[in-house]
């Protein structure tokens, strides 16, 4: 069995950022990603990013992916990349099982950074499994990566940033977005994203959700319903909308399965999207030399995932005896960046979640 110094699971914004810093610090890195190309979900983000210059603000996500990937080039003698490789198991003895090209194999790691990201949540309603009902991120992948349209007329459920952004990107691709439904009484994502949609004629229907889908072997129409203040259906408000695709964007949940499998201490934090690992200040989990960063430690924007990846890479390297030449400066700067990204009103939920996670991590 091959042995590796540092294995990073997940080549998205967090994993790529962690890899760069660990390489700078002098470690040898094995980066494993299940997809055909690295970059995680950045590779389909056609919009310009928010944040500040340090997180590549005003650069499109697709281009940030390339920057992060190219940033690893100069270290290729110490970097081993496995693509189209799914980590299917993580064991207490630091053995990792990888599935690649119809074969399973095992590797052993001295240390591990888990940056597996998140998956899209589903929504319960009648016939929610009909083909034509997709995660919003799935539609983004289909359009922006493969150039295939999800349908002609689409309804979006959920007004978080993903729902708003993907709706706009569908319009850019030539799809008619018939409505955006939001169960809450207000828009969840950034209002600038919402305004872009509204001025293009997309109605945002708050306190409204999807009750039922219709279609034989694929979606033909949906039934919407209004919700009262207790989130109950208001009888008699049912309305039908014909559409050939329905996008579900009701939040993300951390891909915690590998951590849970290794029986690492976990905690359920609703504000952070679900089950996350209890972390020490240096991003180490309850299993020594196993670190975690990015959405798997709580759902945030990709900007935060990049910063967190760098910070985890920096602190993990130090714990392993590899002190980055600019350790102190970098640590201070990265912590400041994270605080800055989280300190506004949009960060309330994240701050609350992180507080809960911290209290429970030290008891």
């Amino acid at each position: 069995m091959d042995k590796f110094d540092l294995v990073i699971i997940g080549g998205g914004p967090a994993g790529l950022s962690a890899a760069r810093i660990a390489l700078e610090a002098g470690l040898s890195v094995t980066l494993i990603d299940r997809s055909i190309s690295l970059g995680g979900q950045l590779i389909k983000q056609t919009h310009k990013f928010f944040g500040s210059k340090a997180q590549y603000a005003k650069t499109r996500g697709i281009d940030i992916a390339n920057i992060l990937i190219n940033d690893l080039d100069e270290y290729k003698d110490r970097l081993h990349i496995l693509k189209e490789a799914t980590v299917v198991a993580l064991y207490k003895d630091y053995v990792i099982t990888v599935y690649q090209f119809n074969k399973y194999f095992k590797i052993q790691a001295k240390s591990i950074i888990v940056a597996t990201g998140a998956s899209e949540k589903v929504l319960a309603f009648e016939n929610n499994d009909l083909p034509g009902i997709y995660g919003a991120g799935a539609v983004q992948t289909l359009m922006n990566l493969y150039g295939v349209l999800p349908g002609k007329e689409v309804v979006m459920v959920g007004s978080g940033n993903i729902g708003l952004i993907v709706s706009y990107q569908m319009i850019q691709a030539g799809v008619k977005v018939k409505a955006l439904l939001e169960a809450s009484d207000h828009i969840g994502g950034y209002l600038v994203h919402a305004s872009k949609l509204v001025r293009l004629g997309v109605p945002i229907l708050t306190r409204t959700t999807v009750k039922k889908a219709y279609g034989k072997n694929k979606l033909e129409k949906i039934q919407t319903v209004e919700l009262d203040e207790q989130w109950n259906y208001i009888e008699g408000t049912e309305t039908e909308i014909s559409c050939d695709a329905l996008c579900i964007s009701v939040g993300l949940t951390p891909l915690h399965q590998l951590l849970s499998m290794a029986e690492i201490d976990m905690i359920y934090v609703n504000e952070l999207g679900g089950l996350i690992p209890k972390l020490k200040k240096n991003y180490e989990t309850s299993m020594p030399r196993v670190f975690a960063c990015g959405d798997v430690t709580g759902i945030e924007e990709a900007s935060s995932a990049m910063v967190e990846g760098k910070l985890a890479g920096l602190l993990a390297s130090k714990s392993l005896g590899f002190i980055h030449p600019e350790f102190e400066l970098l640590e201070k700067n990265l912590v400041e960046q994270l605080n800055n990204l989280r300190q506004g009103p949009c960060g309330v939920k994240i701050r609350l979640g992180l507080e809960k996670a911290e209290v429970n991590s030290h008891d």
Binding site: G174, Y190, G201, I204, T206, P345
Partner: protein, 159 residues
């Protein structure tokens, strides 16, 4: 209310505009109504007319006297919420960010759309600009009757 329907009231819009006398030359109108972690408008401004400060969540403040109407912030804003506005006789001239197809062509007449998505007027396409800095965001210059100064937000389709 913008948090419910996604568009600001006319009163809110007016708070983002300078006194009408200032609009003799193009001025950046920044329609940022919510504190979000974002500051490219401020860092892209070559004359430091836009201030956000250390806390990048703060709402940008613009000094209309310093603004030179260069348009850097228009294509730098990830939220596409900045436009340049000026008044020339009885016309309001807008420079808006545009990321859809087809791109309007100079001389065409398009529908003028308000913030709630309704068609309100005709818009004359005066110019379109796309360069390396604007990174695939097209800046479309249009003129509409002056009375729509606080209503016009984008162009819809060719008439």
């Amino acid at each position: 209310m913008i948090k419910v329907n996604g568009y600001p009231t006319k009163e809110q819009v007016k708070t983002k505009f300078p006194k009408i006398e200032k609009l003799v030359k193009p001025i950046a109108i920044i329609e940022c109504y919510q504190e979000i972690p974002c500051n490219p408008c401020s860092t892209s401004c070559p004359v430091n007319a836009i201030t956000i400060g250390e806390d990048i969540n703060k709402i940008p403040k613009i000094d209309y006297d310093l603004c030179i109407g260069c348009g850097s912030c228009v294509y730098s804003c990830p939220g596409l919420c900045i436009m340049l506005v000026s008044i020339k006789e009885d016309l309001a001239i807008f420079q808006i960010p545009y990321e859809l197809l087809p791109v309007p062509l100079t001389g065409e007449i398009w529908s003028g759309i308000d913030r709630s998505g309704h068609q309100i007027c005709e818009a004359n396409i005066l110019k379109t600009l796309k360069n390396k800095q604007s990174d695939r965001t097209v800046i479309v210059t249009v003129s509409v009757p002056k009375e729509f100064l606080y209503d016009f937000s984008t162009v819809g389709c060719k008439l």
